[in-house]
């Protein structure tokens, strides 16, 4: 048990969760008070002592499943050697089947039968049945072979393809309509659909963890934990995020902006004291019998910079630009004014889009669809875009402005026009360049980052939310 626990904690750390020694000890202590056969309570005991950030919960859950899933009594299908004991699994399966009034074990079930059983389970929200069917489906469709070096997603895909869950959803809806004899209001229909979608989502999760359990049995805990290791949302690379990861980043950005805004406001308040506030000092002195023991000061007028954002929104760096714009606008009351420009090979000002739209997400969406940024062919041309920027807006840069350039500086071998950055730096308070590419790629191929960045006050690698957050913090 001790070995298992320490392995578990090490894996959590590997996954990026900060687990301290005291927390580890707490977890050990907590587990003592929990009846070990209560798997849920066990999981919560570990979570509450080890995971102190809600966004890390998912990572925790994955690691937990890998380490402890096979050890509960209901999953006792491992024999001494740690291999899947087919017999007991079959037995268990057929027990389940008999219990449900089904016939025979999964071996004899045809795909149609599985589909039918699954349909009934989903219709009646029968969880035990759903779990059993998930097992049956994996046995039947995934075609898992021991030692085969493919990822869990491959098996998941194979299983789901055979189940045709979209078709299932339609059938469920038809059934529900029949049941209510066709007089469902549109609202009821919508709610019913969502209910089924939810159940199907649960089923998918069940199938996924079933596959995972078997893979763990096949490959061992450590190897599995390693393949399942996923970066935390704040560490996901903008340029290579999958759709699911993007959604996670989007979710993470909301609380992040709130935190940043609160932190910046606080920082400003505490940085410097203003002139003596005579009235408040006298008022305070009353509680010391008229002795002005505690002088009071006025809050200083905040010195808010004006921010100009110039962002490359061509395909490769679009996601990065999107998140940065989102973050900057969420923090806009920290700046006296924010202006934003986007470009690919042409340049367009998009400030008004953020002013019109109340919802930042909508505004960012509009930037992507409405901004007029293509000049010739829609391939990045920093040189031309910067030229346009200087010509039209250069005169508006003042000593109060902070200018941020966003982009990977992959210029497709066009002229760089680096003098624009140089001139901007002369007029503006400060100029920063944010590059979403890893540092080791800079100045390789058509990247000309150094030509630009020599003129800037700072150039930052901004590959993930964590780095972006650090920069914004630095900026204000």
């Amino acid at each position: 048990m001790l070995d298992l626990m320490s392995g578990f904690v090490v894996e959590l750390r590997n996954a990026g969760l900060p687990v301290s020694l005291t927390e580890n000890l707490d977890a050990m202590e907590a587990v003592k008070h929990i009846p070990i056969e209560d798997r849920d309570a066990f999981k919560y005991a570990l979570a509450t002592t080890l995971v102190k950030n809600e966004q890390h919960w998912k990572a925790f859950e994955t690691v937990f499943e890998v380490y402890f899933s096979l050890r509960g009594p209901e999953y006792n299908v491992l024999d001494e050697d740690g291999e899947i004991d087919e017999d007991s699994l079959e037995e268990w399966m057929s027990q389940q089947m008999r219990g449900m009034g089904g016939q025979g074990s999964s071996e004899e079930m045809s795909p149609e039968e599985i589909a039918e059983m699954l349909f009934r389970a989903l219709m009646n929200a029968d969880e035990a049945m759903m779990a059993a069917m998930a097992r049956a489906a994996v046995t039947q469709f995934a075609g898992m072979e021991p030692g085969r070096p493919v990822g869990g997603t491959y098996y998941l895909y194979r299983t789901l393809r055979n189940l045709d869950l979209d078709g299932m959803l339609d059938r469920l809806m038809e059934q529900a309509q029949e049941r209510s004899e066709g007089d469902m209001t549109s609202l009821e229909e919508r709610l019913e659909r969502e209910e089924f979608e939810n159940r199907i989502e649960d089923l998918k999760k069940e199938i996924e963890s079933e596959i995972r359990r078997r893979l763990v049995a096949d490959r061992g805990v450590e190897a599995m934990a390693k393949t399942l290791r996923k970066p935390l949302p704040e560490d996901v690379d903008f340029m290579h995020a999958s759709r699911e990861e993007m959604a996670n980043i989007r979710k993470a950005i909301q609380p992040l902006t709130r935190k940043l805004a609160a932190r910046l406001a606080r920082k400003r308040k505490h940085k410097r004291k203003g002139p003596l506030d005579f009235r408040a000092t006298v008022r305070q002195s009353l509680s010391y019998g008229g002795v002005p023991a505690e002088p009071r000061f006025r809050n200083p007028r905040p010195n808010k910079p004006e921010l100009i954002v110039v962002a490359d929104i061509s395909g490769s760096v679009a996601a990065f630009a999107r998140f940065t714009l989102h973050l900057v606008y969420a923090l806009q009351n920290q700046f006296s004014k924010v202006r934003s420009f986007v470009f690919i090979d042409g340049l367009d000002e998009v400030t008004h889009m953020f002013q019109d739209e109340e919802d930042i997400t909508n505004a960012v969406h509009r930037v992507n669809t409405e901004a007029d940024v293509v000049w010739v062919d829609g391939h990045s041309d920093y040189g031309h875009a910067f030229g346009v920027f200087w010509e039209n807006y250069g005169s508006e840069i003042s000593s109060k402005s902070t200018v941020m350039f966003l982009g990977d500086a992959r210029n497709n071998y066009h002229a760089t026009n680096a003098w624009v950055v140089k001139e901007t730096a002369k007029k503006a308070r400060s100029v920063f360049w944010l590059n979403p590419e890893p540092k080791s790629y800079w100045d390789t191929g058509d990247s000309v980052i150094t030509e630009y960045s020599t003129h800037a006050d700072g150039v930052f690698e901004c590959r993930n939310l964590r780095q972006l957050e650090g920069f914004v913090d630095h900026l204000a």
Binding site: A30, A41, K52, A262, S287
Partner: protein, 293 residues
Amino acid sequence: MGDTMFGDLGSVRGGLRDADYLADDGIASVVYLAEKLGKPVLVEGPAGTGKTELAKAVAAMTDARLIRLQCYEGLDEAKALYEWNYKKQLLRIQADRGSDANNEDWTDLQDDIFNDEFLLTRPLLEAITAEEKVVLLIDEVDRVEVETEALLLEILSDYQVSIPELGTIEAKQIPIVFLTSNNTRELSEALKRRCLFLHIDYPQLEREKEIVLTKVDGISDNLAEQVARIVRSIRQIELKKSPSVSETLDWARTLVLLGVESIDVEQAKESLHILLKYQSDIEKAAKELTVEG
């Protein structure tokens, strides 16, 4: 003492239910462990999901006194821990002077004015000096500054308070401590390390329905189910502020008052303003509910 307070996990759940708080497995386990390990619980989650309510329920369940410290920006030692009743001290000194000025020397006087009589206890000190059982609720701890947070550390890990003039005051009993946070800023590692962590999210459909059923008088099972489903549906839309549990309850109560038996789209749209507090959210939700239906 503590060990006799809660029997096992099941009894915690039952107890919370008796106090009209429907806990899920996670919440019950954490409350149980908090008592067993004698550790404070840091409760985090969106507004209106029953974080403060949980502390109240635990107090009701254990027959303990609830002591509440509401945090705000600028909260300091004097408001949270203790303060010398300085005006009374002044009076004391002046009263002395009036009678026989030279009789008492300074150390006597000092002992005299720095004792319990002149100490104003604030919530934190009160919680640990109390004789009876106490549940201490430190509400919205994320509102205080990082520096002030440090003031909580001693009391949270050792259950003691050091007062320079009096020495260290140790707890007469270990209170159950809840800290709530709306997550407007990252709390310090030191604080997090000392606490058990509990994230309370919007409840699952089943639980929300049950909450509606217990908290709203005279609601039918059917209506509660519909309410819970519609609220879940609305939470899936990307909104500025998703409806919280308390707003769900308000909505359910309104529907009961209006004598609604089963909700249709029109009724739902008309009463959306109870669930949602931003005009843009209301419009968005109204649109969603009609379009996709």
